[in-house]
Structures are given as C-alpha cells and as structure tokens.
C-alpha cells in the first residue's frame, strides 16, 4: 500500500490524516501535492495526523520539512500528531523532533493552534 490522505476540518484547523507509506515516489509526492494545495487555498492551521503511517524514509522526512517551511513561510502553522516509535525515532535521530510541534492527542493539538 502506498499512502492514503484524508483531509477534514475541525473548526479552523485542517487535519490531514495520513496512512501508509511516505516514501520516495507516490507516497511523498501525494503528501507534497496535498500540502501545496492546502497552502494555495490559504489554510493557515494544518495538523498532520501521522498515527497510521507505517513507514517513512528520508524522502518522506524531507517532505515533512518542506511542508513545514512552506506553511511557515506563508504565515501559517504546521503541527504533527500521533507519531509512532519509528517516525519519532527518525525525527529524533535527525534532530528534527524539536523543530516540529508534536502532539499525542488530537484535542490538545487543535487547542494548541
């Protein structure tokens, strides 16, 4: 399975539920396209729910970074929700864990915007 993305609105926060593999190719491209679309629509509060991400490679990490930069440069905020051990470990190893605002529960994440 590649990646499946579902976008929903919770108040003024756009939640993107990401499931599957964020790897070079279809997975990372789909995430990139979704992020660009949301920024293009003027979305300023974006929460990436990574709870069902089963695999992420360095390209996927790159897309998270790219998304963060794009959203931030447009005056918005990008936050992460529900990191599993694999994703958390990767972000920590690459010193990116403290760059992102990471949350464990959706309610808390929404309120933090």
């Amino acid at each position: 399975m590649s990646v499946k993305l579902n976008t929903r609105q919770v108040g003024d926060v756009t939640v993107v539920d990401v499931a599957g593999r964020i790897t070079l190719g279809e997975g990372s491209s789909a995430l990139r396209d979704t992020m660009r679309e949301l920024v293009g629509k003027g979305q300023k509060k974006i929460l990436l729910n990574l709870g069902d991400v089963t695999y992420i490679d360095s390209s996927g990490i790159g897309e998270l970074v790219s998304g963060f930069t794009t959203v931030t440069n447009s005056g918005g905020q990008l936050k992460l929700l529900g990191l599993n051990k694999r994703v958390k470990d990767l972000l920590q190893i690459t010193k990116l864990y403290t760059v992102f605002d990471v949350h464990e529960d959706e309610g808390g994440a929404i309120r933090s915007f």
Binding site: L24, S59, V65, T69, I93, T94
Partner: protein, 146 residues
C-alpha cells in the same frame, strides 16, 4: 533478540533495473535474508531502511533512473555477519563533500539525510569508487554485538 537457529550461510544476488520497483525488491530480499539470520524486529526495521536508502542513492543519484544502467545487489549472512552490497554505474561523487544533515545550516534541507541514516542504523558502512565507473556501498550488521 530472536535465537538464531539458522547457521547455514546464505547469499542472494540480483542484477536490478534502475527503478523504484527495484528499491522495493532489494529491501524485501535483504529483509528475507536478515530475518533468517535471526535479527529482531527493531534491527529488521533498521536494516530495511538502510537498504532502501542505499538503493535510492544507487537508482536516483547514481544511475539516474537510466534504463541502460543496472544496480548490482547482494545480501549475505555468514557466521553472525550480515552484509549488503549495492553497486551502481554512475559517475560517482565526492565522499568527503557530503554535508552534515545535523548542522544548523542544513537542518531544514529537504534532502541529504540518506547516508547519515544508513550509518546510524548499520554497524559498518563503507563506500568505494569502482573502475571504470560506479560506486559500491557495503552495509554490515552483526547478529551479536561486536
């Protein structure tokens, strides 16, 4: 760590096309050998990622997806030593010139973390230039800590 009941040395070799499908194939092959070698789930995850990153480098940066260039892949387990060797037919690159992805000025780059992750996940990692062309990487992990 899962008890290693398989003491039979094993080698798998393939000549792969320069495609993303080959990245998937190589990762699966490496994991099948590594699983029989007795690595636990945590180490299998690390091995899979390291092989994936190495294959992406060979396919994307080395061979540039060329239909005329192949990737030589091998995975070997013998006497507690698991090794993967991946060779491309690209022009090569300056090993010493790789930027440090943890440096402040590089932290927010969208690429450049592959080799760093490989080194983090494997016990040994070597790169060498091939003659007349190409780059070969060797990834090693031991089933028993050295």
């Amino acid at each position: 760590m899962r008890e290693n009941k398989h003491h039979v040395p094993e080698t798998v070799e393939r000549l792969l096309d320069s495609t993303l499908e080959s990245v998937e194939s190589a990762e699966e092959l490496a994991l099948s050998v590594a699983q029989r070698a007795g690595f636990d789930d945590d180490d299998l995850m690390k091995i899979g990622m390291a092989v994936r990153e190495s294959m992406v480098n060979a396919v994307v940066h080395g061979n540039r997806y060329s239909a005329h260039k192949k990737v030589r892949f091998s995975a070997t387990h013998h006497d507690g030593r698991f090794a993967v060797r991946i060779a491309d037919e690209g022009e090569g690159f300056d090993f010493a010139g790789l930027p440090d992805p943890l440096a402040a000025e590089n932290l927010m780059r969208t690429s450049g973390r592959g080799i760093f992750l490989i080194r983090s996940f494997m016990d040994e990692f070597q790169m060498r230039h091939l003659e007349p062309v190409g780059t070969e990487v060797t990834l090693v992990k031991y089933t028993v800590s050295k």
